[in-house]
C-alpha cells in the first residue's frame, strides 16, 4: 500500500519537484503524493481524504493566509495525530522553536535534502528505509 504524503506549499513548482523526486517511488506505488497550495486547502484535503490515510504532512511555513505553523497547530489539535514535518527556507531558531512547541515531527530547511526526507518518511511509516 502506498504511503500517502501531503505536500503543502504555495509555490506551484514544488509539485513538479516532488513528483520528479519521488518519480521512482510513485512509479513503484510506494508513495502517493497529495498537494495543497495553502493551509486552508490542506485542511480541506485532509478532511476529504481522511486523516488516517495520510502518513505525513510536509508543509511550508511562509504562506499567504494560514501559515504552516497554524496548519501544524490545527492538525495537531484534532485527533488522530498526523505527523507533520515543517519544510521551510527559514533557518532561524525562532521558527524551529515555535514548530517544536506545536509538536512538529520534523523541521527541514530548504533546499530540501530529499535523501534525508525519504529516510524520515520511512522512519515515520515504521519501515526500514527503502534505499538511499
Amino acid at each position: 500500500m502506498a504511503l500517502k504524503i501531503m505536500v503543502v506549499d504555495d509555490e506551484k513548482d514544488v509539485e513538479m519537484l516532488f513528483r520528479q523526486r519521488f518519480r521512482r517511488e510513485m512509479r513503484q506505488g510506494e508513495i502517493e503524493l497529495l498537494f495543497a497550495f495553502s493551509g486552508e486547502e490542506a485542511l480541506e484535503v485532509l478532511a476529504a481524504q481522511g486523516k488516517t490515510d495520510v502518513v505525513l504532512v510536509l508543509s511550508d511555513i511562509n504562506m499567504p493566509g494560514m501559515t504552516g505553523l497554524e496548519l501544524l497547530r490545527r492538525i495537531k489539535s484534532e485527533p488522530p495525530p498526523v505527523p507533520v514535518c515543517m519544510m521551510t527556507a527559514y533557518g532561524n531558531d525562532d521558527y524551529r522553536q515555535r514548530a517544536e512547541e506545536h509538536q512538529c515531527d520534523g523541521y527541514l530547511t530548504k533546499p530540501i535534502d530529499f535523501r534525508a526526507l525519504k529516510a524520515r518518511i520511512h522512519e515515520l511509516a515504521g519501515e526500514a528505509p527503502i534505499n538511499g
Binding site: L17, Q20, N62, Y90, G91, N92, Q97, R98, K110, I112
Partner: protein, 742 residues
C-alpha cells in the same frame, strides 16, 4: 585817633626819613630876631628850601587890605606858628585872618627871584612888601564862595629888590572842613588847619614843582601796573572760570589801583580835580573803599588758594564794612576807627592763612609769605611812622627828595604783594599745566597700554576663535562622520531586517535549483539506461528540458533577489530616474513583509494595496525612495504587531498602502490600524534618534532619514496623521517636477 590813612601816608614819609638821606636836608635852622627872620643865598642853595611855618608869625583875625602894607605896625599882633593845630586859636577863629612875617636878607639875595609854595586846606593870598604875588585857592566873601586850595604844586614867584627888609603877608581863610575834606587834605601831606609857606630860590621851586609833577608818572606807572596785573588775572579767570582765585586777585588789584587813584594825592588832584569833575570828598571815598576792598579781596584770594571754604566770610566782612560805612557816614573818625580794626583784622588773617599755608607746605606758601611780610613791614612802618610829627614836618620842606624817596619806597608797599601773588598764581598755573601735561602723558600712556591690552585681548580672542572654529570644524567632521556611520548603521539595520527575508527568498529558488539539478542528474542516468536498453527516451528528455527551464527560471529569480538586495545596500548615487512608482512601492512592501515575516514567527498582517495606475513613471532616486517605503511599511508592521500582541484574536492587523495621482503630483499613503500615537510622539516622530521601540531594536533614524530623503532629496513632503488608539498614516507627496537634488 588820627585818621588811619593820614598816619599811613605820614608813615610813608618816615620811611624816607629813616633812610637818613632826607634827614640831613630839611633842617635849616632859622634865626629869629626882633626884625624877623634872616635869609641868605647860602640858605637857599640848590636843593634847599626854608619852611616858614617853623617860626612864629604875627596874626590878626579879620580882614583889612592895609595889613598887607609893609610899614603897617603889627607889633601888637599875636605871635603864632602858621601850622597851628585845628583848635590852637580856641577853635573860635573862623573865616579870614592875616599873618605877617618880617624878613631880613643880605646882599646875596638882592634882586633875586624867590619861589613860594604853600600847603594848606583853605585859600590864601600872598603879599610881598605890600604887593600881591598870588594866591592858592580863591578867597570868597563867605565859606561857600571860598575856593579852597587844591595843592597843585605850582610855586609863586616874587622879585626881591635890593633892600634888606621885607614883609610877607598872608591873607588866609580858615573854614570848617568836612571830615572827608580834612581826610583828603591829610593825604596831601598837610594838616588841615593852618598852613605852611615854603620859600626857596625860584629855580629850585620850579625845579621842585617839575619834580613833584614827575610823581604823576610814578603813580600812573603804579596804577598801570596794577591795572595790568588786574587785567591779566581777570583774563586768566575768563579762560578758566572754575578757579576763582584769579577773579579775586584780579579784582583785588583793580581795587588797589582804584584806591591808589583815589588816594593818589598827586595824580588825582593834578588831573581830575582841576575841572571840578570830581570833588575831593568823592576821591577820598574811592580811595578809602579801594584800599578796603583791595584787602578784602586779597584775603579772598588767599582763602581761595588755601582755605576755599572761608571765602564766604570775606563777603560777610565786606558787607559789614559797607553797612558800617553807611551808618557812620557823618562820623569819619569812627568810620576810620572801624576801618583800622577791620584792616588790622584782614591783615592779620591774611598773615595767619599765609603762615598756615607755609606750615602746611602748601604750594606757593613761601612766595606769598615773603610778599605779605614785606608789605606788612612797609605797612607797619608807614603806620607807625605816621605818628612822627618831626618826620612829617620835615618832609614838607624837601619835596623833591621826598617824592623820589616816596616813589622808591612805595614800591615796597605796592609791588611785592601783587608781584608775589602774580608769580605765585603764574607758578600755580605752570605747575598745574605741567601736572596736566604729566597727566596727559599718563593718560596717553594708559590709553596706549589699554590699546595694547585691547589688541592683545583681541588677538587672544581671535586665536581662541580660531581654535574654537577648528574645534567646531573637527567636531562637525566627527559628527558628520558619526552621522554617516549612523546612517550606515540604519541602512545596515534595515538591511539586517531584510536579510532573513532575503535568505528565505533566495533559499526557495535555491531549493528548486539544487533539487532539479539533482533530478536532472538522475534523469541523465535514466536516459543513458534507456538508451542502452533501447527504450523510449522522449519523456525523459522532455522532463530534462522542463527541469532545466525551471532551474533557469529560479536562477533568474535568485538573481533578481540578489540584485534588489544589492540595490538596497549599495550607496545610492542619488541619481533620479524615472521608474514605475507602483512597482517600486510594491517591491519594497514585499521586501518589508518578507523581512518582517522572516524575523518574526507568527507575524501576520493583511496588506491592502490600492495603487492608482495613473501614477505611472515618476522620477525618484530608487534606492532612497525604496528605503522610505521599507521604513514606513516596516514601522506599520511594528505598529500592528504591537497592537496584536496586546489584544485578543479579534484584532485583524491591516496595513494599507495607497498611491494616488493628484493635481500637483503623487501621494503615497502608508496607513496602519495599530495603536496610533499621542500628540507628543507625533511632534517628535521625525526627530533624529527619537524612537518608541525598545532599546537596541531601533536606531531612531529611520523616519528622520525618510523625512530628509523625501523633503530634501525629492522636494516632497512627509507628514503623519494619527490619533492615539486609532492607527497612523504616513503620507508622502511628491511633486511632478521634482526639484533638483541638492
Amino acid at each position: 585817633m588820627r585818621p588811619f590813612l593820614d598816619g599811613f601816608l605820614a608813615g610813608l614819609l618816615v620811611l624816607c626819613a629813616s633812610t637818613g638821606m632826607a634827614a640831613s636836608v630839611y633842617a635849616q635852622p632859622l634865626t629869629t630876631s626882633e626884625d624877623g627872620i634872616f635869609l641868605s643865598a647860602a640858605m637857599l642853595e640848590m636843593g634847599q628850601t626854608v619852611d616858614l611855618s617853623t617860626v612864629p608869625w604875627r596874626f590878626h583875625e579879620g580882614d583889612n587890605p592895609a595889613w598887607a602894607d609893609p610899614v603897617y605896625n603889627d607889633s601888637a599882633w599875636a605871635l603864632i606858628n602858621t601850622d597851628f593845630p585845628s583848635d590852637s586859636l580856641g577853635g573860635a577863629w573862623q573865616g579870614i585872618g592875616w599873618f605877617r612875617l618880617h624878613l631880613r636878607v643880605d646882599s646875596s639875595l638882592h634882586n633875586t627871584l624867590l619861589g613860594f609854595y604853600t600847603y594848606h586846606a583853605g585859600a590864601s593870598e600872598i603879599y610881598l612888601d605890600g604887593e600881591k604875588i598870588g594866591g592858592f585857592g580863591e578867597i570868597g566873601t563867605s565859606a561857600e564862595t571860598d575856593q579852597i586850595y587844591i595843592p597843585k604844586g605850582l610855586p609863586l614867584t616874587a622879585h626881591l629888590d635890593d633892600s634888606d627888609a621885607h614883609v610877607l603877608a598872608v591873607r588866609y581863610t580858615n573854614r570848617a572842613l568836612s571830615p572827608r575834606q580834612r581826610a583828603f587834605h591829610a593825604l596831601s601831606r598837610y594838616e588841615p588847619t593852618g598852613f605852611a609857606l615854603v620859600v626857596g630860590a625860584n629855580t629850585e621851586m620850579v625845579h621842585r614843582y617839575t619834580f613833584s609833577k614827575s610823581q604823576i608818572y610814578t603813580d600812573a606807572l603804579l596804577m598801570g601796573m596794577l591795572l595790568l596785573i588786574a587785567a591779566l588775572h581777570l583774563l586768566l579767570y575768563a579762560f578758566d572760570r572754575r578757579d576763582h582765585t584769579n577773579l579775586f586777585f584780579g579784582l583785588s588789584m583793580l581795587c588797589m589801583s582804584i584806591g591808589h587813584f583815589g588816594a593818589g594825592h598827586v595824580f588825582g588832584y593834578q588831573f581830575l580835580l582841576v575841572d571840578g569833575a570830581l570833588n575831593e570828598t568823592l576821591l577820598f571815598d574811592i580811595g578809602f573803599h579801594g584800599f578796603m576792598f583791595f584787602l578784602l579781596l586779597l584775603l579772598a584770594t588767599v582763602y581761595s588758594l588755601y582755605a576755599p571754604r572761608l571765602v564766604r566770610y570775606v563777603w560777610i566782612a565786606g558787607l559789614v564794612w559797607l553797612i558800617v560805612w553807611g551808618m557812620l557816614w557823618n562820623s569819619l573818625d569812627r568810620t576810620t576807627d572801624v576801618a583800622q580794626i577791620l584792616i588790622l583784622l584782614l591783615f592779620l588773617e591774611t598773615i595767619r592763612v599765609t603762615a598756615y599755608a607755609i606750615y602746611k607746605r602748601q604750594e606757593g606758601g613761601w612766595m606769598l609769605g615773603a610778599s605779605v611780610l614785606i608789605t606788612a613791614l612797609a605797612f607797619l612802618a608807614f603806620a607807625l611812622g605816621g605818628t612822627s610829627a618831626t618826620a612829617y614836618r620835615g618832609a614838607l620842606t624837601d619835596t623833591p627828595r621826598l617824592v623820589t624817596q616816596t616813589g622808591f619806597w612805595l614800591i615796597f608797599l605796592f609791588v611785592p604783594l601783587p608781584l608775589g601773588m602774580s608769580v605765585l598764581l603764574a607758578r600755580r598755573y605752570t605747575s598745574r599745566s605741567q601736572r596736566l601735561e604729566l597727566e596727559l602723558e599718563r593718560v596717553e600712556e594708559l590709553s596706549a597700554q589699554t590699546l595694547a591690552q585691547e589688541r592683545e585681548k583681541q588677538a587672544l580672542i581671535a586665536s581662541q576663535n580660531e581654535r574654537l572654529e577648528a574645534e567646531v570644524e573637527a567636531r562637525t567632521a566627527e559628527l558628520r562622520q558619526s552621522q554617516q556611520q549612523l546612517v550606515h548603521a540604519e541602512k545596515m539595520a534595515s538591511l539586517g531586517a531584510l536579510t532573513a527575508g532575503i535568505a528565505h527568498e533566495i533559499k526557495n529558488p535555491l531549493n528548486f535549483i539544487n533539487n532539479f539539478a539533482e533530478v536532472n542528474e538522475e534523469l541523465a542516468d535514466e536516459l543513458q539506461e534507456a538508451l542502452t536498453n533501447g527504450e523510449s527516451v522522449e519523456d525523459i528528455i522532455a522532463d530534462l528540458k522542463q527541469n532545466a527551464t525551471v532551474i533557469a527560471q529560479h536562477g533568474k529569480r535568485a538573481d533578481g533577489i540578489v540584485k534588489s538586495m544589492m540595490a538596497h545596500a549599495r550607496e545610492g548615487k542619488g541619481e533620479r530616474e524615472a521608474v514605475n512608482l507602483n512597482a517600486l512601492i510594491d517591491e519594497h512592501v514585499e521586501l518589508a513583509y518578507h523581512g518582517k515575516r522572516a524575523q518574526t514567527p507568527g507575524f501576520n498582517v493583511k496588506i491592502e494595496r490600492d495603487f492608482d495606475e495613473g501614477v505611472g513613471n515618476v522620477e525618484v532616486v530608487p534606492q532612497d525612495f525604496g528605503r522610505v517605503i521599507l521604513n514606513l511599511v516596516g514601522n506599520a508592521f511594528d505598529a500592528v504587531m504591537e497592537r496584536a500582541a496586546s489584544e485578543n484574536g479579534t484584532y485583524e492587523p491591516v496595513v494599507h498602502v495607497v498611491s494616488c495621482k493628484q493635481a500637483g503630483g503623487v501621494e503615497i499613503r502608508v496607513a496602519d490600524n495599530g495603536p496610533g500615537m499621542n500628540a507628543e510622539v507625533k511632534t517628535k516622530v521625525f526627530e533624529p534618534f527619537f524612537t518608541t521601540k525598545p532599546t537596541g531594536t531601533g536606531t531612531g533614524l529611520g523616519l528622520s532619514l525618510s523625512y530628509d530623503i523625501i523633503t530634501q532629496g525629492h522636494g516632497g513632503t512627509l507628514t503623519v496623521e494619527s490619533k492615539e488608539g486609532n492607527g497612523a498614516a504616513f503620507v508622502i507627496t511628491l511633486p511632478h517636477a521634482v526639484a533638483p537634488a541638492r
